[in-house]
Amino acid sequence: MRNKLVYVLCLLAAGILCWQLYNILLNLPNEKDQGAIYRIVYFHVPAIFTGFMGFFVALGASGIYLATRNLKYDAFAAAVTEVSLTFATIVLATGMIWGRIIWGIWWTWDARLTTMLVCWLIYAGYLMLRRAIDEPTQRARLSAVVSIFGCTDILIVWKSIEWWRTQHPAPVLSVRDGGGMAPGMESPIYWNWLALMCLAAVLVMIRMRQENMAREIDSLRRMAHSY
């Protein structure tokens, strides 16, 4: 059943991405100020939506783990964090390429960029911590606490950095402040978001299966040693 779901979501993601790639590259005109490079927005913005959503889901899963002490939720939190970190990396990479073309620099210490980088560092630390602990329940317990501390920190960084300095353009989507994009140019962002969410779900499912298997092997190994 789960296997089928993985294939269906995979096909869905691939289908939407191919269709939108055609749309983005061949149908849509260049943007009047930025030219062709603006197309990177169709991967940059969906990736950040997917990544951030994943971090909040991981926060929820960590909280549920602490409440129930069911290792299933820990595996879920770990899988979601890993996948979200991948999307955060995509956001940073696409953002840097875009910045190099439009601003002429790879990086600037702007509010949004800094928040994203802090976020990346915190969750990279989370994954390193997981590797440093062998005992599954201790690993689950401590990494759940780190996830809660990390997510709180991102909210503080997000708020506090707003007063700092900003070079990054304000959101242009119509869900906030009426928006500044033509309707035909905006819809691929949402389609790609859907595709990336499907892709993220597939990756999380595969990663969780690995995590469960690793735990099973580990417990079998312990059992074998105890004889």
Binding site: L66, V118, L121, I122, G125, M128, L129, A132, I133, T137, Q138, R141, L142, A144, V145, V146, I148, F149, G150, T152, D153, I156, V157, K159, S160, I161, W163, W164
Partner: protein, 236 residues
């Protein structure tokens, strides 16, 4: 009856906290190991800074707050690293956990002791900084002291919490800074901005009180989170 039992709970919590803090401070003042190492390290960093930029330039005025907080947070790591690790010998940590003192009191006691130790190191290095880099902070002394106290509490709360979290790990010395510094960014950012302003003679005002709020909010949120989650970290 209800208020009395709540009152006696807080009374004993406070007593336990102070007992742990006094124990930590007493054992540190007897050896002065962490204090000496931390102070020596901060002087070394202060000397190294003089090679990184021209120490007599105007530029120093604009980065002085940042330099100081880098010194404070690096020196703090040395003290915080040992906070829980020193209890590993002779299974002291297990004894502390199984003692009647609640984990929250154990945490707060250690945090208070670390705060005092870190403040001592910071005041000493502030003096060295003033001499080496000709900084005058007499005009805003009260405000600077407030910022230093708030920033140090932020470093201490996060540092003590993660010292407890990493105490049983293989790569403790490496994991602690990797986890602590990214989390400290909002507090350090606020403290750096405020300290630079105050050192240049700008008092608290419309432009920078927002950073005071960030710093206070950070301390408040993480103090509560740490006391709530320390049970999970230490006991399970």
């Amino acid at each position: 009856m209800g208020t009395t039992s709540v009152g006696s709970f807080f009374g004993s919590f406070l007593r336990d906290t102070l007992a742990i803090a006094a124990k930590d401070l007493r054992s540190e003042f007897r050896t002065k190991e962490a204090l000496n190492a931390s102070f020596a390290f901060s002087v070394v960093i202060l000397v190294l800074f003089s090679f990184a930029f021209d120490p007599s330039s105007e530029q120093l005025q604009t980065i002085s707050g940042g330099l100081l907080w880098l010194v404070f947070s690096f020196a703090g790591a040395l003290i915080l690293n040992r906070s829980f690790a020193r209890e590993l010998q002779n299974d002291c940590l297990d004894a502390l956990i199984s003692s009647p003192a609640p984990a929250g009191a154990l945490f707060l006691g250690k945090a208070v002791a670390n705060f005092v130790l870190l403040m001592i190191v910071e005041l000493a290095s502030l003096g060295v900084f003033g001499i080496f880099y000709d900084s005058r902070f007499g005009a805003q002394l009260g405000s600077i002291a407030l910022v230093i106290a708030l920033g140090t509490w932020g470093i201490t709360v996060i540092g003590t919490m993660f010292s407890a979290l990493t105490v049983n790990l293989r790569m403790r010395e490496m994991m602690l800074p990797t986890l602590v510094y990214p989390l400290l960014i909002p507090a350090l950012m606020a403290a750096m901005t405020l300290t630079t302003d105050l050192m240049n003679g700008t008092p608290f005002g419309k432009d920078n009180t927002i950073w005071l709020r960030v710093l206070t909010g950070f301390d408040f949120i993480y103090s509560i989170l740490a006391v709530v989650f320390i049970d999970v970290v230490l006991i399970g």
